[in-house]
Amino acid sequence: MANASSIAGTHFQSKVRWHPLEYAFWACTLLPFVLAPNYLSLASQIAITALFALSLDLILGYAGIVSLGHAAFFGVGAYSAGLLAKHYWAEPLSGLLAAAVAAGIAGYALSHVVVRFRHLALIMLTMGFGLLLHEAANSASALTGGADGLQGFKVPAVLGFRFDMFGRAAYAYALVLLFLCFLVCRRIIHSPFGLALRGIRENATRMPAIGAPSLAHLRKAYTIAAVMAGLAGAALTHTTSTVSLETLSFGRSADVLVILILGGAGRLYGGIIGAIIYMVARDQFSGINPQYWYFWIGLLLVAVVMFLPNGVLGGLSALRKKAQ
């Protein structure tokens, strides 16, 4: 028994160690401050989207729950942070907490339904709940501002750093939030709990047979992912000082799915890489014409599915294996 646990111990230890490339990657995330000071607000959008994609990765990439309605939690977080800032106070850290609690409650409540389904019913149910919430926010315009969105509040600063038009504080804020959530995800993925999630993804019937509480694990993962999506939504609210109805839309759910698949689902950096490629490409292409952006993203999707089934990161690691 002691032997087995020590083998497990070394397995987890070898996984937990940081690869030099990871240090390099996070050092590179600081470069926009120096190299592209005009693009810092885009960079903060990318960091927020990356956090959102990371939260989807936790349930889709690791636990195998396909969701077409993940924007529900992003929107819940965005609206709770916005409502708090509009009606009470504009201090962002307490806004993050409120968003995390609200999204977490929503996620926990929905998780009881969602984890029981698979395949088309699962996709349709997550999409259905997302659409329901979108319609509800649209109808309750007294509270949410309806189709005009929630406006008329200003989040001035975080910890004394002002959110100005250059976006330095905004990017730093989004980046720190992304990094902290990344650390949490990394810890979860390399824990026995993360291993159990992957087990459920690979074979949903065998895991309960070896005594793993499958549904409880999935509920836990779903709730954590909802909290992170809520944090991403709140960060968007704080850095832009508005909440639009679009935060809850089906389009946002589909976009984040595309981003994650593009980068590589089931890989810690998949969502982040996907967000960088997608957002930079969108920024460039929609500058030319927003209509044709759909053409390129469609082509990209077809190409990824046909030629890079595990996303950009999966393709890279396959290349490296071939080289060795």
Partner: protein, 288 residues
């Protein structure tokens, strides 16, 4: 009150017929090959633009353009099936979703390029201002045509599926694909024909819906795709009867909701869908 109820039921039923034609192909192909084709509605868009082109550019009659819309959509769907889709029959749900969403996006952009993103229309195929009037209730001419046509299509489909050799092959493949193969049925060929039929019907639905819903490159993505998926999921995969019932219920609920509870928006539809799927995950008439 009663006559307005009759009109609402009638309009809802006509709308349901449209939804049925748009979604039945997806339901049957999903049931046969488990292939999640989110690009199905692209065939509807293709059929719609085919009709717009034929009627407005060539000046032909609307009703003459319908079989052509069917043919064009069927041809495109077979081409896509041959070139792209058949490589992914064994891939995961997610990969299929993504590939077909990608094709849907490309379709939107291509049509926006050639036809601009302005909504398109055709001259009214049947006079709009002369509804049939029975006991004070108003029944639009075009909607009457939709219902008659939709019921005829349903009857033909059911006969085709229940009474012909080809229909028996399709049903066998839906029930148990491996067993059907084992008995020597050419499932690939049956699937290709079904796919063409389904795509053609969607094209027909797209052409017919110009007068009711309108047509622009992205209308289908935000609107049709969701409704078509609801019909398929609620009706149950591979079930023509299920699709028919689901489409009718959805059409009537949507029309009645708009008429009696306009402030609810689409909320009611989504609520009904979520409730039905939680109660029966495989749909009302689904076997799996």
């Amino acid at each position: 009150m009663l006559s307005s109820l009759a009109t609402v039921l009638f309009d809802g039923f006509a709308y349901g017929m449209l939804l049925f034609m748009l979604s039945v192909g997806l339901s049957v192909t999903l049931g046969m090959m488990n292939f999640v084709n989110l690009a199905h509605y692209a065939f509807a868009v293709i059929g719609g633009y085919a009709t717009v082109t034929i009627v407005n550019k060539l000046g032909w009659n609307f009703f003459v353009s319908l079989p052509l819309a069917f043919a064009v959509a069927a041809l495109v769907s077979v081409a896509l099936e041959r070139v792209l889709f058949r490589r992914l029959y064994r891939a995961s749900d997610l990969d299929q979703c993504l590939l077909t969403i990608g094709i849907a996006f490309i379709t939107i952009a291509v049509f926006a390029w050639f036809y601009t993103s302005e909504p398109q229309s055709v001259p009214a195929p049947l006079p709009r201002d002369k509804p049939f009037s029975i006991l004070g209730a108003q029944f639009g001419q075009y909607r009457t045509f939709l219902i008659v046509f939709g019921l005829a299509v349903t009857a033909v489909l059911i006969l085709l599926l229940e009474k012909t050799r080809f229909g028996a092959q399709v049903r066998a493949a839906v029930d148990n694909q491996r067993m059907a193969r084992g008995l020597g049925i050419d499932v690939e060929r049956a699937f290709m024909i079904t796919f063409a039929l389904g795509g053609g019907l969607a094209g027909l639905g797209g052409a017919l819906s110009i007068e009711v819903i309108g047509l622009d490159p992205s209308f289908a993505l935000s609107y049709l795709l969701v409704y078509v998926l609801i019909v398929v999921a609620v009706g149950g995969l591979g079930s023509i009867g299920g699709s028919f019932v689901a489409a009718t219920v959805l059409g009537i609920t949507e029309t009645a909701g708009k008429y009696y509870f306009p402030w609810l928006g689409a909320f009611l539809i989504y609520l009904v869908m979520v409730a039905i799927l939680m109660w029966r995950p495989a749909g009302l008439f689904g076997k799996r």
